[in-house]
Every structure is written in structure tokens, then in C-alpha cells.
Amino acid sequence: MTSSAHSPVLELRKVTMQFGGLKALSDFDLALAPGELVGLIGPNGAGKTTAFNAITGMYAPTQGDVLVDGERVNGRRPFQICRRGVARTFQNTRLFKELSVLDNVRIACHHSSEAGLFAAFMRTRGFLDDEARIRKRAREYLSILGLLQHQDSLARGLPYGEQRRLEIARALATGPKVLCLDEPAAGMNASEKVELMGLIRKIRDDFRLAILVIEHDMRLVMGVSERLVVLDHGVVIARGTPDAVRRDPKVIEAYLGDPHAGGGTRPALGGRG
């Protein structure tokens, strides 16, 4: 199935994730069109990362379907879903820390390689061409994310903000149609966050990607996304434009309503509360 501008590139139909007696996610519906930027928000433990894990194949959904480009992918292994075109970053960065920045991105280009193991042992022309192509591609992604000057440094040696950018570069290098960013701004300072917002938009425009962002920083997520989905206790409690969501009484209650649930640490809505 080819994806026109209107058919969703990622679709979730009544996805439910059940862990024993706990429904971490129930009847979750979501559709992302190419070039769309959607924010997924909700208090801690609302099921946002669970939704990501169900999309990327880390968990197989208990019920419901995940469709990438119209094809049902639930039950497939994460690497297969990645090859279908869904890439992700992780809440706590999971870089290949002891490898160079360039290698981190080159690994993500791996599945585009056509040369087999034997070709690698023999150093065939096809293998060398392949390596050169992967190297070129990896360097392109590094330069887009402004990391080219660090290509030979070890990933663990990068400053925190650049590690986050490297994770995005690595996810992009897999050649996705859908990019899932799990709290990309966590731990960043204000100016880094502004820069990141610009970067996320630029990526979306340049690559015509559908992007799904989990974010706690309301200012950031409301600034970049056209549409928000709000989760609480695994259930969607609101959807719509940032403005509508901001005024939704259910959302305000989820974030601020229960003073005993450590509300003080929860982020305020749009800086108003």
C-alpha cells in the first residue's frame, strides 16, 4: 500500500497492553499522517512509554493492532519494525557508549547494507562500495544534527545535550517514516530546549516524517506539535489542538487535580499554573 498524503503512516487500533492485573494502556487509538507532528503527554505513569514500546515492538500488544504504512506489524521483532520504518529514541539515552559517534550512526545504517558476511571477509568491491556509502550517509546525518566535528569521539564523551542529538541522528539514519522521540528535551536547559524545538520542526519539514513526541515540558510540546494526545492511567482523556487541550478540564485535573500524588513535581500547563 502506498501512502498518500491522507492515509496514515502509523496507525494504532484499540491497542491494549496488560501486565498481569494492570492495564498500562487500554483501547489506545492513534493515526499519524506523513509530515504530522503529534505530542503525547500525560502525568508520570500514564502509559506514554508503554505506547512507544507497543509501537516499536518492544512489547507485543495484548489486544489491538499496530499498522505501519497499512501493514499490521504487531508481534514482529523490534528490528523488523525498525526496518518497516519506525525509529525511536529512548527516555534515558541508550547510545553505544564505548563506540565512536560515527559508529553509532553507522550501525543505524546497517540494515541498508547489501554485502554479506562473506563479502566482508573477501573485501569485495560491493562490500567496499557499501561501506563507503554507509559512511557517507552517516556523515550526512551527523552534519544535519551538527555533530560532524565529534565523529571520532566516543559517544560517552559527548556533553549531555549532544548525546540526545546523537540519538536523534542515529534514529534518523535508520531511514524512518515515523520517528518516536521519548522525552527528547529531558535534562536540557532552556536555551537547548529552544534549539531542540527548531531542530525537531526542521527534521519534520526536511524529511517529511511523521513525528510522535513524548514530552513533559508543556511549553516545548505545545510549541512544536499541531495535535496533542493526553493519556492518564492508560486511557486517552483528551485530544486536539494545544489550545483546546490546555483548557480541557480533564487534563487540568489529571495534572493538577490530585494534590496527594506529588503534584508539586508535576509540570505546570503552559506555564500558567
Binding site: F96, H110, G157
Partner: protein, 348 residues
């Protein structure tokens, strides 16, 4: 025309190490005494073992303790084949040539059966990680030994005596060239990087499109094949094929070499195998204490230099010239580069 030229270039590229190495080995073997030759062959066999185990333990980060088991599979396969062809010459070749051809085929068969064993053990057990995999592979090692000790066809506990002496410096040296070329070329390829990614973070590797199970099994099979080669070389050196040569003590010996040299470092494994073999020969009277020495060596190493002597770097990464070169865009394509930028020292 360019196709044939390309074919020649490809042939030269893939066989260059052998074209250079074999004449050197031939030259060396005609100039050393038989005592020195035996030590060198033993060292070569240990290098093959250490470098191949490093593919699994070092590059892929899967702790295997069953290398001697795969060695046994290769050893018995090749010994059985050379024994079967002891008195017959194949293809009406002159006896000396026929012997060598049979030996080559026997080694290849040993590698193949060891790789199959690697697949059979790896497929179910590579879902396990860390200590669990170590225990499963250790168990496999013992299973192989017990099977051999109870199979009449394989000579039971006495083993197969009278195996022909076929291994010489050229054969063993070629084995070393093959295993080093394999490991280096693997490490410098996209497949090698996939293995490294598994070592670094399996979840992230899988999420980035790396078929982690598939790659672990492949690494295991390659490693087992070369263990089988080492086994074949060993029994055609000591002319005796017995289960006592392939106990878990041998597996631990190989792990010691890999850890000592540095997980992931090919040159480290080579150096450690050389040093351990030669020092063991020099301290012959202390042979019975060798496990004590290995343990002490490992304890001292873990306390002073936990990443092994070479770490994950190669010998040439530590040379000043290489450092400068790999700072340029096109240098250091294969080896994991050392931190070069001032930024590399900053903590997040």
C-alpha cells in the same frame, strides 16, 4: 576486460595476507629447530583459539565458556577423516601431496561440523545473557566430553591414538593468518559494528534494525568454526585425540588469554596467547600449577587493569602516528577510535 581486472584485484585483496605470509612461514620453518617449531605451533593454535573466542566474548559481549567443546568437535572430525585416508591416496596423487590435500579437507570438515555444533548450541542458548550463557556453554563443553567418553567409535576415554603428524608451522601459521584476517575484516565491517552494538546495548541495537539473535548466532558459528580448526591442528600435532585435551580447563585457559589481552582487541589476544604459551614453556616445572597461575594472573589483572592489557584497542591504535591519522576524516575507518577531541574528556 575491467571485469577480469576487478576479479584479479579482488583475488589479490582477499588473499594478500596469505600470499605474503605463507612464504615467510616456509622460510621460518626451515630455519628453526624442531623444539622451537613445536612451541611456535602451540602458540599459533592458542592464537587461533583466543582470536576466535574474542569474536564472541569481546566483539559481541557474549560470555562463552565452551570453546574447548567446539575444539573437540573439530578435532575428532578431522582426526577421523585423516585416519580413514591414512593408507589411501586420493585422486591418484603422489602420497605426500595426497596427505596434505586430505589434511586440508579434514580441517575444513572439522570447521564445518564445529560451526554446526555452534549453531545447535547457540540457537537456543543465545537468548540467555551473561552468567547464564556462560553456564550453558560450560555445560555443553561437559556434554561433548561425556559423549566422547562413551562412544566406542570415538575411542572413548582413551581416545584415538596414532593420528598422523600433519600440523607444521606453515599449516598453523596459515590458520593464524586466516583467523586474524577474519577477525580484523569482521571488526571493520558493518557486520562487526552490529556485533559491537549488541555488546554495547542489545535493546538499542535491536531498535536500530540489528537482528540481534541472528548476529549472535552468526558470531557463535564463526567462532566455533575456528575453534574446530584449532582442534584439528592440535590433534595432528600431538598425534593423539583424547577427551582430556578438551575439558573446561582448556576453555578457561582460552578465556584467560582473551581477558588478559583485552576483550575486543585482536592484537591483544594474539599477544596474550603468545606470552602465555611461551612463558608456560619456559616454566615447564611449574606446569601443574598453571591453573593457579592463571587465576592469580586474572586476579592481579582485574585489580590493576580491568579492561585487559590492550583494552579494546589494537596495537596500532596506541602508536602516535595512527592517532594523528585517525583524526583525519578518512583514517581509522575500522578500529574503534580513541577519544581525540578535547570535548571527549568532558563529562555530561
Amino acid at each position: 576486460m575491467s571485469l577480469t581486472l576487478d576479479a584479479i584485484r579482488l583475488g589479490a585483496r582477499s588473499t594478500l595476507p596469505f600470499l605474503l605470509g605463507v612464504p615467510l612461514l616456509w622460510l621460518a620453518s626451515s630455519h628453526v629447530s624442531s623444539f622451537v617449531e613445536i612451541i611456535l605451533i602451540t602458540a599459533a593454535i592458542n592464537i587461533v583459539l583466543a582470536v576466535s573466542l574474542n569474536v564472541v566474548n569481546g566483539l559481541t559481549g557474549q560470555f562463552s565458556l565452551g570453546h574447548a567443546g567446539f575444539m573437540a568437535v573439530g578435532a575428532y572430525t578431522s582426526a577421523k577423516i585423516t585416519m580413514a585416508f591414512r593408507t589411501t591416496d586420493i585422486l591418484a596423487l603422489p602420497p605426500t601431496v595426497s596427505d596434505q590435500v586430505v589434511f586440508l579437507l579434514a580441517l575444513a570438515a572439522g570447521m564445518a561440523t564445529a560451526a554446526v555444533a555452534g549453531f545447535l548450541v547457540g540457537m537456543p542458548s543465545l537468548r540467555l545473557g551473561g552468567d547464564y550463557l556462560a553456564i550453558v556453554t560450560l555445560g555443553f563443553n561437559e556434554i561433548i566430553r561425556v559423549i566422547i567418553e562413551n562412544t566406542a567409535f570415538l575411542g572413548q576415554a582413551t581416545g584415538i591414538a596414532g593420528v598422523a603428524r600433519r600440523t607444521n608451522l606453515i599449516w598453523a601459521g596459515t590458520g593464524v593468518i586466516a583467523v586474524v584476517a577474519m577477525a580484523r575484516r569482521l571488526a571493520g565491517s558493518t557486520h562487526g559494528r552490529a556485533l559491537l552494538a549488541i555488546r554495547e546495548d542489545e535493546v538499542a541495537a535491536e531498535a536500530m534494525g540489528v537482528d540481534t539473535t541472528g548476529y549472535k548466532v552468526r558470531a557463535f558459528m564463526i567462532s566455533s568454526a575456528f575453534a574446530g580448526l584449532a582442534g584439528g591442528l592440535l590433534v595432528h600435532l600431538i598425534q593423539l585425540c583424547t577427551p582430556r585435551s578438551f575439558t573446561f580447563v582448556k576453555s578457561i585457559e582460552v578465556v584467560t588469554m582473551v581477558v588478559l589481552g583485552g576483550l575486543g582487541s585482536v592484537t591483544g589476544s594474539v599477544a596474550a596467547a603468545l606470552v602465555l604459551t611461551i612463558s608456560l614453556e619456559a616454566l615447564r616445572e611449574l606446569q601443574q600449577y598453571r591453573m593457579v597461575m592463571y587465576s592469580l594472573l586474572l586476579i592481579v589483572l582485574m585489580l590493576t587493569r580491568p579492561s585487559g592489557i590492550f583494552g579494546s584497542r589494537e596495537l596500532w591504535d596506541m602508536m602516535p602516528l595512527r592517532r594523528r591519522r585517525s583524526a583525519l576524516p578518512d583514517g581509522g575507518a575500522s578500529a574503534p577510535s580513541s577519544p581525540l577531541d578535547a570535548n571527549a574528556d568532558e563529562e555530561p
